[in-house]
Point group: C2
Chain length 336, copies 2
C-alpha cells in the first residue's frame, strides 16, 4: 500500500489539520472531529449537519460554508461518526431555528444520528432528519437496509442549504431535502477497488478487464461483474437502471429538466469524466430529457477507487432556483 | 487498460464534447480543438492563450473564463497542440490589445507556440510569450531543454489573467507572468505511473513500495527512486529541493508570504492531499514562512497517476491582490 499518509491511525486527524490549515472559512475541532463554519451559528437560521465515514472527500467537510452545510462530522475511514460527535456539531450550529441532519442510509450512520437527535432533544434543540437513499443498484447491501445513499447527498446539501439560507423553517428545509432525495437516482461503476488504510489491501479484486456495475461507495458489491465496455455502453447501463427505477417509482421523469452529476470515484482522471459526461448527456437527450444543470468532477469519492457514478435529479422551478443560489464552500462555489 | 473512453483515438475529442456540453460559459471548437470564452474576445483586453498536451485536466481548458484564460488549445494526450490550432486560438481572443501565450517549457510546445506567434504577427496580432519552467527537480529532461513547466502555470494563468482583466497592457501582463514564474518553484512525487491511452500500458514501472522523487507531469524521470516514506518526509524532500534551489536562484524566499499549492496528480484521493498540505504547511512554518494563500486539489494532473506536487510562489502585495481578484472558470472560481 502506497498512500500519502503518516500512519494508518492518524489519517483522518492529519487530514483534518490540513483542512483547518487550508481553509480559514472553516473551524475544525480536530480532537472531536467536527468541522463548522468559522463564523459560528447563524441566529434564526436552520442549521444543517451532515456526516459519515471519511474517505469520500470532498463530502462532507468540503461542503461546509455559506449556502450549504453548517457542520460536518467525519468518522474514521468508511466508519460512522459517533453520536457525541454529532451532538457537538448539532449544538455548534444551533441558531434557534432547529437543526437538520442529512444522513446517508447506512445502518451505523442512521442509528448514530438517531441517538444524536435524541440527545439534542434532551438539550431542547429541535432536530429533523432526512435519510438519503438514491442508489438504484441494489436493495439492501453490506452496511445498509434498503438503498444506499450516494450522490444525491450533494444535491440535498446544496438545495436544502440554499433554502435554509433564505430563512425557511425547519419543516420546509426538511421537506425540500426529502423532495430532492425522492426525485434523485444514482448508479455507480467501479474499474478498480479502493484500499482502506487500516486494511492495507484492496477491498475487493477485479480482473484486468473486469468492472463492477452498481458498486457502492465503500466498495460494497453491485449488481454484476462484467467485462470493460466503452463509455457509451457504461452510460447506457447506468441510465437504463435509473430509468427503470424511475418509471417503477415516483417523481423522476427522465424526459424532463434534469440536474445531472457525473462523479469520479477518486482515482479517475477528469478527462475520462468529461468523456462519460458527453455519453450521459447524449443518452439523456435520446430519452427526451434536458440537462439544465450539471456537475462533473470528484464530489463523493471512495478513496482511490477508479470509476464513476451518475446521479440524476428531476428539477422543478424551485429546485433550479435553489441550485442556482449562491454557495461558497471549499468544494462548491459560485457567485453571491 | 481500463479507462472510461470510447476508443483511444477519440479520447480528446470526446472529452471536448463533454466540456462543451457541461459548460455553457465556454465555446468549444471540437474539430480544431480550441476552447474559448463563450462571449468572444473582450475589446481592448489582452487575450491570454495557453495550451499543451491533454491529460493534465483541468489544465488548461478548465481555466478558461473571466479573470483567467481567454483560450486553451489542447493537443492529443501528452502531445503538443499544433501551430495552426494556436493561431486559431490567438485570432479568436484578439481584442486589439495583443495576446499573451503562456507556454510550459516542453520543446514541442515552445517551438509550436513560437511558430504560431510568427503566424499571428503576419496577421498583425501582437503576441508576447512567457515560458514556464518552475520544476526544480531536474535540469533538461525527456521533452525539455532546461526545466519543465508544471504547477506555476496555474498561478501564472490566474495572476496574469487578473491583470489583463484590469485592462493592463500586453507588456505589463507579460511582465507579471514572468515575475510569477520567476518567483515560483515546484517539485513532484509519483506513487504510481499513468497510462497513456494510445500506449495502453504504464509509462514506467514502480515497485510495490517504491516511489519516484522529482517526477515530471508526463512521467518523465525525476531525481531518484526510493522506498515509500511518511507524508512528513515527502514534504521535507519536496521543500528541501525547492529551498535549495531558491537560495541558489532569485526571488523566492521561503521565509516570506507564500502562495502554496498541494496538487494531486490525478489518482490520489483528496484526503491524502490534505494530509500532505498539513505537512507542507508545518514544514514551511518551521522555515519561518507563512502561507498566505493556498490551493489543495487536482489542478495540473498526469492522467491517473498517484502522487502530488508542491508549488510555492513568493508573494508581493500586487501578486496577492491579483490572486484574490475575482475568477470564474470551471475549475477555479471565487467571488465577483
Amino acid at each position: 500500500m502506497k498512500k500519502l499518509i503518516n500512519s494508518v491511525d492518524s489519517v483522518v486527524t492529519d487530514a483534518l489539520r490540513g483542512v483547518a490549515a487550508a481553509h480559514p472559512s472553516l473551524t475544525v475541532d480536530v480532537e472531536n472531529k467536527v468541522i463548522t463554519r468559522a463564523g459560528g451559528p447563524t441566529p434564526g437560521k436552520v442549521g444543517l449537519v451532515s456526516g459519515g465515514g471519511s474517505g469520500h472527500e470532498p463530502l462532507h467537510g468540503g461542503f461546509v460554508g455559506y449556502g450549504m452545510l453548517d457542520a460536518a462530522c467525519p468518522g474514521e475511514v468508511f466508519t460512522s461518526p459517533v453520536p457525541d460527535q454529532m451532538l457537538l456539531a448539532t449544538k455548534a450550529v444551533s441558531g434557534g431555528a432547529g437543526v437538520l441532519h442529512i444522513v446517508k442510509n447506512y445502518t451505523g450512520d442512521v442509528l448514530n444520528f438517531q441517538l444524536a437527535a435524541e440527545l439534542a432533544d434532551d438539550e431542547d434543540i429541535e432536530v429533523a432528519s432526512v435519510v438519503i437513499d438514491d442508489d438504484v443498484a441494489v436493495q439492501d447491501s453490506l452496511y445498509t437496509a434498503g438503498r444506499r445513499g450516494v450522490g444525491a447527498t450533494v444535491f440535498v446539501e446544496k438545495i436544502a442549504g440554499a433554502l435554509a439560507e433564505e430563512g425557511a423553517s425547519l419543516d420546509a428545509v426538511a421537506a425540500v431535502a426529502r423532495e430532492v432525495n425522492e426525485r434523485s437516482r444514482s448508479f455507480g461503476v467501479a474499474l478498480s477497488s479502493c484500499i482502506v488504510p487500516a486494511a492495507g489491501k484492496p477491498t475487493f479484486e477485479l480482473g484486468d478487464s473486469e468492472i463492477e456495475l452498481g458498486i457502492g461507495i465503500h466498495g460494497e458489491p453491485g449488481r454484476t461483474r462484467g467485462p470493460m465496455r466503452p463509455a457509451s455502453e457504461l452510460a447506457a447501463v447506468a441510465l437504463d437502471a435509473i430509468a427503470a427505477d424511475s418509471e417503477a417509482g415516483t417523481g423522476l421523469p427522465l424526459d424532463g429538466e434534469l440536474l445531472v452529476m457525473v462523479n469520479g470515484m477518486g482515482g479517475t482522471p477528469l478527462i475520462e469524466l468529461y468523456v462519460m459526461y458527453e455519453e450521459v448527456a447524449r443518452n439523456i437527450a435520446a430519452r427526451g430529457g434536458r440537462i439544465a444543470r450539471n456537475l462533473v468532477g470528484n464530489y463523493i469519492t471512495s478513496l482511490e477507487m477508479q470509476g464513476f457514478s451518475v446521479t440524476v435529479c428531476g428539477l422543478t422551478d424551485q429546485l433550479t432556483r435553489l441550485w442556482d443560489a449562491p454557495v461558497d464552500t471549499p468544494a462548491l462555489r459560485w457567485g453571491r
